[in-house]
Symmetry: C2
Subunit: 648 residues, 2 copies
């Protein structure tokens, strides 16, 4: 049978299950990626599991999120992660070395391999012919420990690319076009696979841009073939030997299909406050902006900075505008410095920040109150910039640079100078000085973990009781993101290794009374949360499950889930339920009390559960779609307990 | 009579008083400088005073402290300051343009002029043949409004420089040598004036380094002559026309004298946690460091970065070390980029931060718990780095770069390569793109102040009651810094324009119960604080007076004061008292209640006041040294009330 790239990658790594969309399969994981915001917890989990040494081909711990050191918490975490990387046999990418996704692509990605990462944009490395997926931190911990990852076999959505991008249009506009067509749920349960003659005109880094923001469609991941362009890219990285060709077989088919003619694309912009809110730049041209921001894993390439530099060279940005440049890797930054692109940006009036995620995740560069920000970042969820009630637009670097010159959102095609063609850097300054290699197992055994005062072990969690009688403490609407469940940003993320502390921020933007009420519920048997569609979209951070679990959350009932958060709920022993009849959503109110009886038997008997609304004396049906393995995990109270039981 | 440079500058600006050391004089102010941490309050004061347009030759508002934007507070302040600069006719140096002191030196400093700045390192511009002094924000507000500054005529301390700096020794070691000799109180009541043949071998920026850290000796300011070197410097800045020669008259004398033979100096290091704790680098060589940090107004020059770059070029920093590079001005950064020094630093493993004060004031780059940091910054007061119980060493860039290579404090003379001679940049990229010029008065009148939600007007303060019966809420020891009274750093500074909010941080590192107890005291008539020597050393931030005043502080009794904080206490209507008999310090305990009766009469009659310790039924004598103008200010409850009364 002729296979497409996604099917080939899955087939090569299949541990259990059949490759039928909707069925659970498990896959061997070759590589893992953790970043510092999620990685400290992963390392605590590895410690709790008693792991000796990573069982993957390559696992890398990056420090890219929490680079702002206003007290000892972040640097203490850096040292903890460094010690954990040495202890468990991981690569360690030091603070300042850059964003995980482009650095991994440059230095460690290998076509044909699987990559699991505790970051929702891990899919970016799908550009390299890898099956690269975001997951909860504990899934990554399991993968480092040699366990397969369990996923629902997705459909493969083939997107044929034809034509060639016009001047002033770039890879970002390809993925924004897909978001325009399918919105933030359009990729759920699917792998996006790009193919066709249009690929010949997209560099490896262009494909990274597209693969990265597949996450914004909710896709399981995105894959590209590994072709001559990937060969070229890896050769420049002195890693030619790691290259293998991966292409779809002749006659391969897709479960779903669409086509994009690159020649017909125009510059696009996502309006506040969803990446799916896409319009032509012409519709928003003239909107005044306070800030133009270039960087992040959604536009990480040399080209993305170089095109902006060429556009602003010998020009001056609009008075009063904050033009923020966030380099994405140190290796690339040195290239941009040597080629004088950084000089052009600085001379135009730019502010240059250290290499890392920075403002993409609310760590710096927050906009002023009531002002518009235009960014090349992947997401504009409410408040993600760090500013409450922010107003963030997303675009590619051409629109961002044009708008920086004009002080308002600007169609770059209306500028009075020609499109400055830029190419990738001819030579790459391959530089692993801040990327430490794993040390051998014998030495690793001797390493002591360096735990600062803010790094606290994970408290023990109890198993699921047979009867739950719990109040609904919160009822929320559709598309609640993990940022709303537990915000990122500089106030919150420093407590990522301190569960008692970080849980105090849970749902703070939604209901400031939640934490107090949840703590009260905890000793009385816990509580439930009710929500709408696409619950838990966005960042993969498992704290969004772990923190409410710590506060007593035992069950969530929604219309449907974002994939990673659903998995995280299971991993921490929270019942992830869906309304059998979505209209029942209307029946439930905050403070209603729900009873689930005889849970163990009910779970064994099928997908449906009965819940009694005590306060209304009425039963509703809910369902869970849990596999027997997942039921077992939830009943144990989560994956750590489950792993312990398996080991014991 | 032959005059030295300091006397000439004072004589040229004398408004009142006689030039006899110890007498109050007032001086006309030609230029002012405000930065964002102190400037927002200055702008609120200008608004409260109803100022129409700045009456100085040049006043500049810099944004260099609060560059980390993790929410809308800092960018809102930036926009407020921008609008205030436009409203009141000031220059506005945008975020990312650099640290006030070097930028002012490059673009606005004029030999022979006076400069008053709401930053304790304003004295740095003394390198330009200016009388440049740090002061409380409200003093600067008064100066912008055309009022003279009142100071006590200092002694002039002539320091003769001979010889030439050896290899591996730089200007930083000159000022560290003075700190070694005289410690942090050695300059109190004095102007440090440098002269002699050794000057010929010190560039304008070298002199900036020395003048800057005169603040660490507690000096009123530091002055250098304006000679051919300053002419050269200003010519490179395209400001040749502003240059005038200012030299001491032949036969000029000094109140005090010392001499430094530059040829005999060696690399020096200040140990934790005082700039005055100076030893030879040989005494601390081998001390392991977590961090090496280059930047700040204490080593702001092109040379300071270039020497470090040449030292680490084609080498790699010690594994695990954080090598933080903080450029001090954007103009200089572009020079360093073009000359490939930034490339050398990055390639060695450095982290490059945006141009500004950054970690010097605890805004980023805080060290990990229990680790040593080595910095070219001016101060290592406890906790100033942002990390509690930090361990910060100070040095010049040669020691910092050598130590970055070795991972421990290293005498650069022991390195296995020759001293890389570096020179200043041959051409300066003069660049005012982020330095906005004042707009004309007619346009300025139309400007509306842009006030974000965190910018709160200054509450009204009551006048001094005739009788105070107040408890001692806090008894502290010697050398309490304004950082300990009210910390800088990223948690606190964002509230600098919100007095009710920022006052909650007062003395938090000293006694966490103070704020609560002070608030209780407020309605009961206020409270007193008792301290030892050098009370209020360090940063000039007036919030260290304003915040405790807001919390009910009416009187401070100490052994002696740091000059700027003493002035700030007066400006906000707090009685700044000294023990007549220092032994009485021992008599007072926390919670003792003090009564001052008939205050108006007592103040009129002389310098002494009687205070009754009610709890011990005993009288003690205290004194104040207030001029009649200062008494009047304190009796009115502070300078704003006093100005209002004068206007009314």
């Amino acid at each position: 049978m002729a296979l497409n790239v996604a099917q080939k990658l899955i087939k090569d790594h299949l541990v259990s299950g059949e490759m039928n969309p909707g069925e659970e399969i498990s896959l061997k994981i070759d590589q893992t990626l953790t970043q510092d915001a999620t990685g400290t917890m992963v390392m605590l989990e590895l410690e709790a599991m008693g792991l000796d040494y990573a069982k993957t081909d390559a696992s890398a711990q990056y420090v890219d999120h929490n680079l702002i050191q206003v007290d000892s918490k972040n640097p203490d975490d850096h040292l903890f992660l460094e010690s954990a990387a040495r202890r468990f046999g991981l690569y360690f990418s030091r603070p300042g070395n850059g964003v995980s996704h482009p650095v991994h692509m440059q230095r460690l990605a290998v076509p044909g391999k699987t990559l699991l990462g505790s970051d929702s944009h891990t899919c970016a490395n799908g550009c390299m012919g890898m099956l690269a997926m975001g997951a909860g931190g504990i899934d990554v911990a399991m993968a480092i420990a040699g366990e397969p990852i369990y996923i629902t076999m997705p459909k493969v959505f083939g997107i044929k690319l034809t034509g060639e991008l016009p001047d002033w249009v770039s890879a970002k506009d390809v993925i924004l076009e897909l978001l325009r067509r399918y919105d933030v749920k359009g990729g759920v349960g699917k792998i996006l696979e790009f193919y066709g003659p249009g690929l010949d005109n997209l560099t490896a880094m262009d494909r990274h841009v597209i693969a990265n923001m597949g996450a914004e469609l909710g896709a399981t991941t995105t894959v590209f073939p590994s072709d001559e362009e990937i060969h070229r890219f890896m050769t420049l990285q002195n890693r030619e030997d790691d290259w293998v060709e991966i292409k779809a077989d002749a006659g391969a088919t897709y479960d779903l299909e669409d086509e994009i003619n690159l020649s017909e694309l125009e510059p696009l912009v996502s309006k506040p406050s969803s990446p799916g809110n896409v319009v032509s730049v012409t519709e928003v041209a003239g909107t005044p902006i306070y800030q133009s921001y270039i960087g992040s894993s959604a536009n990480p390439g040399y080209r993305d900075f170089a095109i902006a530099a060429e556009m602003v060279k010998d020009r001056t940005i609009s008075p009063g505008l904050s033009f923020d440049i966030n380099p994405t890797s140190r290796q690339m930054l040195t290239n941009l410095v040597e080629d004088l692109h950084i000089a052009s940006l600085l001379q135009s009036g730019a502010r240059l920040h250290q290499a890392g995620c920075n403002g993409c995740i609310g760590m710096g560069q927050a906009p002023a109150s009531g002002r518009n920000s235009l960014r090349t970042t992947p997401r504009n969820f409410p408040g993600r910039s760090g500013t409450k009630e922010d107003s963030v637009y997303l675009s590619g670097p051409e629109v961002a640079a044009a708008s920086a010159l004009k002080g308002e959102i600007t169609d770059p095609r209306t500028l009075d100078f020609p499109y400055p063609k830029v190419t990738e850097a001819k030579n790459v300054n391959v530089d692993d000085r801040l990327l430490d290699k794993p040390i051998p197992p014998k030495e690793a055994k001797q390493v002591q973990l360096s735990k600062g005062p803010n790094i606290v072990s994970i408290p023990e969690m109890d198993e699921l009781p047979d009867t739950l009688e719990i109040p609904v403490l919160l009822k929320v609407g559709d598309n609640v993101s993990t940022d709303e469940i537990l915000a990122g940003g500089a106030r919150v993320l420093p407590f990522r290794s301190n569960l008692p502390e970080i849980s105090n921020f849970t749902f703070e933007g939604v209901d400031t009374t939640y934490v107090e009420r949840a703590k009260d519920s905890k000793n009385a048997g816990g509580h439930a949360i009710v929500g709408g569609y696409n619950y838990g979209q966005g960042s993969s951070r498992e704290h969004a499950a772990l923190a409410p679990r710590y506060l007593g959350l035992r069950a969530v009932i929604v219309k449907d889930y974002a994939r990673i958060h659903w998995q995280n709920l299971i991993n921490f022993g929270i019942l992830p339920l869906k309304f059998t009849d979505e209209k029942d959503y209307e029946k439930l109110e905050q403070e209603d009390v729900l009873t689930f009886s005889d849970l163990r038997n009910q779970l064994k008997q099928g997908d449906a559960l009965t819940a009694t609304i005590e306060t209304k004396n009425e039963d509703i049906q809910v369902e869970h779609n849990l596999t027997s393995r997942q039921k077992d995990i939830v009943l144990h109270g989560g994956l750590i307990n489950w792993t312990k039981a398996r080991q014991g």
